[in-house]
Homo-oligomer: 393 residues x 2
């Protein structure tokens, strides 16, 4: 029997990251590939205690079906967290999702018809590309420089492509590590409001700033509630719980809830309650402080190792937070072609190409610094630099 | 700013169940509406111990990102469970999903383009209707009688509609409680194989048989691996963990994994490991036996109460398992119109209409018997019968 699949499956290119991740489970391989947080920093004992308390105090409720929107006390806590980030949101404006991956999927689900255009940074988060491809979207990259995307480019792009929305990661962007400057955020908000462009602001890394000062989110400028904001506990608590959230205007929220109801009914009741209990019983701000210090140190080690080892012609970004930096090779370097040799040397990275909706970007590579110890970072960069030196000859 | 939503959102009708469930949280209301398992039977202490052991023994792994396909030891256990159900499956043939709701969503995602036809029982599971609507599918109901759908009707329907698949719930169907007979399953499998019809067999309730003998699944006849089978732990362990699974042919599995990667990356690592640990450390078969006995008793109480109280002209099904029975009123009864008066009398049910893809079925109602104590079942049926008697006048 030959099975006829949906057209959207033709559009979804499998990610090379998944293939790379199969290799990275080998302990002899130093991986700068995945976007994994450091597991040795997870608040394991605290989650264990929270878990035990939740099941002891409200086991049957924690194991039963629940509302699609999310566990109400968790939604209230997340609204309070939004207030700390300068974003006005009530509990009802929060949708709890199965990771912020699902938040993005639901936004695409309620907004995108086949052929619809999405504006993105170029490069951008590769899983976002995959999600939008799964709705058969078209992409229009927005010109960018070291301060992020250039807002003044938006009106012409909007006039030409009538995009459904602009998707961007203003803080410590994936893959580049770049941050959109405060003045650009202000211009972007004003221009988007003027031309009626919906902005989808993805903020998984904003709390992971290890140097410099926080910049208010675009959503915090949005007094009229026009933009959509996503975040997650995957980088600040633990990704295995699969909890993210979306803050959306009321008109969008109703659709997202209908969409989520069809997608998975609701996110794990147990995980939502455990997270809520953990937030109530422990000081997560102090925990995040620990992560920030560790990642800042690891970034510093990676930056220093790159400076010491990398051959001429290679440059890289200097992010003030997050988990990634972005290496740019000289013309002619093909990082995808380098990957097999890198695996032989027992070091891996993600080739740049996957992050460009148009498939360009062959001379770039993304390096993750959050998930390796300083010693392994030094050793891994030495191996990588040797390979880059050979590639040049 | 006016937001243009995707076309699929027009097709998704919000479920009246969600609105009903808002009322059912009131303790004075006796609810036969939701499809909720009995929370007083959840294995709370066992899950608590499993949870604690998982976090103590492998906390960092349980809190980290994981593979899309699912926790490998859980997949192996689910494959062994499949073998017990007569279904040949390796661990690699199992995809762990965020509830079987997500399994259905992923099947629709990889198979359905707008306008594609799905064959269904009539009536059928309302959330399945919602999922298929979210992919802008068309529906063609298959004629049914008390033994379930009539396989001989399939060739003509397939010739006329070229459906992507047939969706059905052979065991204790939702909403009717009916079971597809063994001989029908055999004919259905043979006819589907002959005419190249993909069968999607949803089996959430199969383990909940309280009388009669088990009937082999359609998938167990499928030596060539042509059909797709879904199940869940929502009714046999706990729905709050949001764990279901799909058994699919290899060609479909790869697509489902790509689809799931875009949908939510993976299901909760913690919940998957807790479930695995629970299955290893405890006797879930004995637990299911307890549920079966309790639900069988509750069904008996509801059936007896209906016999005693319901006015002439009402009949109902006599399921041998599961969680629902299906009441059929005399011509002219409109169960949706009755609902407001039912809420005034503090009893609720689900009107039949939501279960018919074509919106027919106004004289039916679905009653759940798993989530009320025998006393509340007697009282609730008395209230409902009084209302039905008035409706007849």
């Amino acid at each position: 029997m030959s099975i006829r699949f949906a057209k959207r499956m033709d559009a979804m290119r499998p990610s090379s990251i998944r293939e790379i991740l199969k290799v990275t489970s080998r302990p002899d391989i130093i991986s700068f590939a995945g976007g994994l947080p450091a597991p040795e920093l997870f608040p394991v004992n605290e989650i264990r205690a929270a878990c035990d308390r939740v099941i002891a105090e409200s086991g049957p409720e924690a194991l039963q079906y629940a509302t699609t929107e999310g566990f109400p006390p968790l939604r209230a806590l997340l609204a309070a967290e939004m207030a700390k980030r300068g974003i006005a949101a009530e509990a009802d404006d929060i949708l709890v999702t199965t990771g912020s991956q699902q938040g993005l999927d639901l936004i695409a689900k309620v907004l995108l018809d086949p052929g619809d255009c999405v504006l993105t940074e170029n490069p951008t988060y590769l899983a976002a590309i995959q999600i939008f491809q799964s709705y058969e979207a078209a992409f229009a990259p927005v010109p960018t420089d070291d301060e992020g995307i250039i807002p003044e480019a938006l009106p012409e792009l909007v006039a030409r492509h009538s995009p459904k929305f602009l998707y961007l990661i203003p803080n410590f962007q994936n893959p580049t590590g770049r941050t959109l400057s405060a003045s650009r955020r202000k211009s972007l908000y004003e221009i988007a409001a003027r031309i009626g462009l919906l902005v989808v602001e993805d903020d998984p890394y904003g709390k992971l700033r290890y140097t410099g000062t926080d910049i208010p989110s675009i959503k915090s400028l949005d007094a009229e509630g026009r933009n959509i904001y996503l975040s997650t506990i995957s980088k600040t608590v633990a990704p295995g719980l699969r909890i993210g959230w979306v803050v959306a205007p009321k008109s969008v929220m109703g659709k997202l809830v209908t969409g989520k109801q069809a997608s998975d009914l609701h996110s794990s009741s147990l995980d939502q309650r455990v997270l809520h209990r953990y937030f109530c019983d422990y000081d997560n701000a102090a925990h995040v402080e620990k992560i920030r210090r560790a990642y800042g140190e690891r970034y510093g080690v990676m930056d220093a190792a790159l400076k010491e080892c990398m051959p001429d012609g290679f440059s890289w970004t200097h992010p003030e937070g997050g988990m990634f930096l972005w290496v740019s090779g000289p013309a002619g370097v093909d990082t995808l072609a380098m990957l097999d040799r890198a695996i032989e040397r027992k070091v891996v990275f993600v080739p740049g190409r996957d992050f460009f909706p148009d498939g360009s970007g062959m001379s770039f590579m993304r390096l993750n610094f959050s998930n390796s110890s300083p010693d392994r970072i030094r050793e891994g960069i030495a191996r990588l630099a040797e390979l880059c030196g050979e590639g040049k000859r």
